[in-house]
Symmetry: C2
C-alpha cells in the first residue's frame, strides 16, 4: 500500500497467470498454450512485416484483419473487432456492458479473471454454482441479472454446453448482454458466432493464443451485433488508439487464412487429448469430458497437490488451483504426443 495509490488500485485483487519458470526446461502443460509452432505462413508474414513501415502507427481500425475474420465466419466487418488478446477484449466488454449495482452472473468455477475485472470496474457479481459433475446449470441463468459471462468450453473444467443451451440463455436475457468466452471453442465445440445475427445481445470472444498457436502474439477477437462492437470501439478509443501492433495484425490475418494448418494442428491436439484421457482413466483418474486443449483430472488415492509436486519434480508443469471444490483437481494442457507420454510415465511412476 502507498499513499499515492487511488482507492481503485487499493481494492484490486490482480489475476495471477500460470508460472513461466526460467530455472530449467519444463514440459509446460500449465498455461494451455499450443504445443505446436505457429503456421510457417504466419511466421513468414510477420518477418515480411518487420520492415521500415514499423516507424508508422498500425491501422487503428484493423481493417484487413477484420475483413479476413468476417469472411471466415460469414459475418460483416462491422460485427468483428480485434484486441490485445481476449483478456483486453473481455476487460473492454465488462466496462462497456455492465453497470455497478446490477449483479453479473458467471459460474463459481470458471476463468478466474472475471472477478478481477469486476473489481477493476467496481462491478457486482454473483456466482452460479456449477452442478456436482461441474456442468453449467442453464436454468440458473434464467433470472434477473446485470449481464452474463460464460466460458464455453468452460475453464478449467473443459466442459462444453451446446448451441441450443446458449440460445436458451441468450433468448431469455434479451435485455442485457451475454458474453460467451470461446477461448477453447476450436477444439471440438460449435461456435456461437452463428447466433449473432439473431441476437443483438450476444457477444462472442475468441483468442489466437490456443488453437492458432499464437499466445506470444497477443491477438483476441470479438464478434457481435454492430451496436455491441461500437461500444467496444468507444472504450478502445478512450484507452489506447493502437492496442494491436503491425506484426500482430499481419500474423493474425495470415493465421486465419491458413485454414489447412489450423485444421491439421487442432486435429492433432484433439487426437492426443483422446488417447491421453483413456490412459489417465486406466490409471484411475477421473477425467472430465473435454472439448478443450486441456484435461481436468482428479485421483481418488493421491491428492492433486501431491501429484502436482511430483510432476514438477519430474520436469512437468501442470496447473493446480487451490480453490474450493476444485482443490483436488489438476488442469493439464494437451501437449505433443511425446510430452503426454512423459506425463503418463511420470504418473505411472507415482501410482504403480
Amino acid at each position: 500500500m502507498s499513499k499515492y495509490w487511488s482507492t481503485a488500485v487499493k481494492n484490486l485483487v490482480p489475476y495471477v497467470p500460470g508460472e513461466q519458470p526460467k530455472d530449467k526446461k519444463y514440459i509446460k502443460l500449465n498455461t494451455n498454450e499450443s504445443p505446436y509452432p505457429p503456421s510457417p505462413r504466419v511466421l513468414e508474414a510477420i518477418k515480411n512485416a518487420a520492415n521500415s513501415d514499423l516507424r508508422l502507427y498500425p491501422d487503428p481500425e484493423f481493417h484487413e484483419l477484420r475483413e479476413t475474420v468476417a469472411t471466415y465466419y460469414g459475418i460483416s466487418k462491422e460485427e468483428v473487432y480485434a484486441g490485445n488478446g481476449s483478456d483486453e477484449l473481455l476487460a473492454f466488454a465488462f466496462q462497456a456492458f455492465f453497470d455497478p449495482g446490477k449483479k453479473i452472473l458467471f459460474p463459481d468455477i470458471t476463468y478466474s479473471f472475471y472477478p478481477v475485472y469486476c473489481k477493476l470496474y467496481n462491478l457486482d457479481y454473483e456466482t452460479v454454482a456449477l452442478n456436482e459433475e461441474f456442468s453449467v446449470p442453464i436454468n440458473e441463468f434464467l433470472r434477473e441479472n446485470g449481464g452474463i459471462v460464460i466460458s464455453n468450453p468452460n475453464a478449467p473444467t473443459a466442459k462444453y454446453i451446446s448451441i441450443d443451451e446458449i440460445k436458451t440463455i441468450v433468448e431469455y436475457n434479451k435485455d442485457r448482454v451475454v458474453i460467451i468466452d470461446e477461448a477453447y471453442i476450436d477444439f471440438g465445440g460449435d461456435s456461437a458466432v452463428k447466433l449473432i445475427k439473431d441476437y443483438k445481445n450476444l457477444l462472442v470472444v475468441q483468442t489466437m493464443s490456443k488453437s492458432r498457436c499464437l499466445a506470444g502474439l497477443r491477438l483476441g477477437l470479438v464478434m457481435g451485433s454492430s451496436e455491441l462492437i461500437d461500444a467496444i470501439i468507444r472504450i478502445k478509443n478512450s484507452f489506447n488508439s493502437y492496442p494491436v501492433d503491425r506484426l500482430a495484425l499481419a500474423g493474425a490475418a495470415e493465421a486465419i487464412r491458413d485454414e489447412e494448418y489450423f485444421t491439421e494442428t487442432v486435429a492433432k491436439i484433439v487426437n492426443t487429448r483422446e488417447w491421453v484421457a483413456l490412459r489417465l482413466k486406466e490409471l484411475g483418474f477421473e477425467v472430465l469430458d473435454s472439448k478443450a486443449n486441456f484435461l481436468f483430472i482428479s485421483h481418488s488415492k493421491i491428492s492433486a497437490e501431491a501429484i502436482f509436486n511430483h510432476l514438477r519434480e519430474n520436469g512437468i508443469l501442470v496447473r493446480f488451483f487451490k480453490k474450493p471444490r476444485i482443490d483436488n483437481y489438476l488442469r493439464v494442457s494437451v501437449g505433443t504426443d511425446s510430452d503426454m507420454e512423459a506425463l503418463v510415465k511420470a504418473l505411472e511412476k507415482l501410482l504403480w
Copy 2:
C-alpha cells in the same frame, strides 16, 4: 446509443487519432512518427523472435526489457515497467493514482487524450491555461489538486520546461502524483527520470513511437519509485496479463541497446527541424521554439485551415486542431529533408 451500453460507455468522448488515409500516398507529417525506419538491429531482433516460441505467452513481467532500460537510465528494474504504448501506461496511471472528486490539473492545450482518460475513469479535472506564448505557467500548479499531468515537451506546442521547473512542481506536490509525459523528450530535452530517486511522487512516461522509430510496434515505458510502479503492475495484472507481445519485447530491448542508431536518427531530425524552422520564419510563419519532432506554426496572412487544405491537396498531411486558442495553428511533424523541402515548396506556392 444502444440499450446494451453501460452508463460508462454512454458518457465517453473517445480520442480521435490523426488520419491514416489510404486513398493515395501522402507525405505524412500529421502523427509525429519518425521519418526514419527502425534500426536494422531492431528489425533483425524481431525477425529472430518470429519463431516457434510465439506459441508461448510472453514474459508477463518484461524482465529483459526492464533490465535493459534500467541499465540505460541507471535506475533499478523495480523502477521501470513497460506497456502497450505510452497510451496504455497513461491510462493505467490515471486509474492508479487519481481518485474521482479531486481535480486533476493539466494544461488547457496539451495531449487531448488526458480528458478522454478522465471520462473513462470518471475523474474530475481542471485545465490550467497556458500563458499567451503557450508556455506552462509553473506557479499555477502550486496549489491544492488531485494530481498533475504535464507533457514535456508539450504537444502540440512543442514547448519545453526545464528540469528545475519540474522539480518545483514535484516538490510542492509531494503528497500526490505528478505525471510527466515525455513522449518527445529525446529531441532536445532533459529527462526527469533523474529525479525519480528523490521524488517518490514522480512518474515519467515515455514511448518508443517517436525517437525510436517504432510507432508500429506499440511500446511504452514508465519510470518511477517502486511504489508507483507497483500500482501500475496491479492495474495491468487486473486488466491483461500480457499486453506486450514477444516481438515487441525483443525489438524494444534491441532499440534501447542500439544507442548509436538512436543518437544518429535523433540528430538528423533535430537538424532538419532547425533549418525548417528558419525557412518557415522567412516565409512569415510564427514558429514556436521546439524541443520535439514537430513544429507548431501559424501565419498571420492565411488561416491554418486554408494552409492545411492546400497542403493536403498537394499530398502533404499535417495536423490541424479545430480548438479554441489553437485554431489558427498547425502541427507539422519533422520528416526527412526531402519531405520538408516538399513542404516548404508547397507553402511557397501558396504564399508567394
